[in-house]
Amino acid sequence: MTSLRGAAAIVGIGQAGLGEMPGHSALDILGLSVRAALEDAGLTLADVDGLFTASSFHSMPSVSVAEYLGIFPRFSDGSMIGGSSFVAHLQLAAMALATGQCEVALICYGSNQRSAGGKLVSMTEPQPHERDYGLRYPIDAYALVAARHMHEYGTTRADLAEIAVAARQWAQLNPEAWKRDPLSKEDVLAARLISDPLSVLDCCLVTDGGGAVIMVRADRARDFPQKPAYFLGGATALSHRAIAQMPDMTTTAAVQSGQAAYAMAGLGPDDVDVLALYDAFTINTLLFLEDLGFCPKGEGGRFVQDGAIAPGGRLAVNTNGGGLSCVHPGMYGIFLIIEAVRQLRGVCDARQVAGADVALVHGNGGAFSTQVTALLGSEATL
């Protein structure tokens, strides 16, 4: 085995508790999403022998999840690198499957963040050289990056508003999205500032939700009821823990993760039909479009203007409505994968990208701290 390209495929996806699911624990919501994914794949829990998960609620995520589900996986990983963890798990699961460490890999996440209090739940510890100043994590850190990008490249709040509006317009085509009421650029520009230049409408949602993905080796993928979504490439890049340590405050490590993932897949930006970018804040989408090669550095603001990434635009980005308008239960990475798989299956109805064969999934964790890119493809891409 020299390459992971096409070595494994996603054959099951499931979601639960999107938006609000009162009275349920994070693990309850996770469990219901696992049930949905098993049903989608035509498998039972007894078939699962590989477990990949991360959590903001559990310091030993894989242990808590295995106990709740009542499984004793042969191979497991609970690496926690923030919301991008689940995209990183795709590569780890593909490696485990390709080398025979497991036969059926389950990647899963659940959160009751909204019902449990409506605030961002984070186990993140205050950083020693930030805590004295009352930095409000993570939004102040993202705001510092947005402010610097505006300073260097002339990006405006109106450019960021375009991103929020595009996400909402996609959400209006997705019956599962949490926020579907009309949103205008003017609404975003008039919204209450939280950390300048970011307003409350530049921020992701606070919802409940769980998601699960089932992966098997590619040679078994055609035996399942759904169209497989093949893993074509993936890579993880670590950048910094504290925002002042970010090597370049206007360029993320998505440059590194993207180049490595493209290289593994033998693909480039021009080959991508649909993108799922981790939009914890509007500035994320803008930076990832630049850093993943969809426009030159500094041009993100101009690139997104005039509905370019909205339905009917020139690039299909975050077709479920994203973390900004669809769902964001603390960590969003698993939902990036699920939407990409749905687009490759061709089951997205009003928001379906016609003939989508290649999907780019990009996860972000911390405050631009971890960047994970994966490329998924239909059978035609093998």
């Binding site: 050289h129 100043y133 009352g134 402010a147 610097r148 300073h151 500032l193 504290a242």
Partner: protein, 132 residues
């Protein structure tokens, strides 16, 4: 408190002890002179290399990025959060004080000011003289 021997106390305590005496210490690679912050026992990117050198920073820099972290008055009101690029190169997270949070601008020249907060010396920055 006197600035202690870094080998006896560890880098963080050495840094803090100097700060309490009104001196901002940084570290650098003795071979290249490249300065870095925060204090470390080994060179970042070169753990096999020589022990980092300590030196006293000038205490000057410019605002690299800034935000107004908005809060209700009962939560302490709006506060500035800034990344300062020190003249020696490293960037530090801090707060520009002595000026309204909204008035802090990227590129503004600033000077270090060490204040005691809860008996701990904390590194802040104020606009350098001549800044409007």
């Amino acid at each position: 408190m006197s600035a202690s021997d870094p080998r006896a106390t560890g880098p963080d305590q050495h840094h803090k002890a100097a700060l309490a005496e009104g001196r901002l210490l940084l570290q650098r690679d003795p071979a290249t002179g490249d300065a870095f912050f925060y204090p470390r026992a080994v060179l970042p990117g070169c753990a096999e290399g020589p022990a980092p050198d300590w030196f006293e920073a000038r205490g000057t820099g410019t605002v690299y990025s800034t935000t107004v972290s908005r809060r209700r008055p009962e939560q302490g009101g709006n506060r500035n959060i800034a990344v300062i690029a020190l003249s020696e190169g490293p960037r530090v997270l801090s707060q520009v004080i002595g000026i309204a949070p909204e008035e802090v601008r990227i590129g503004m020249d600033v000077r270090a000011r060490i204040d005691m907060v809860n008996d701990q010396p904390i590194l802040f920055f104020t606009p350098a003289e001549g800044q409007s």
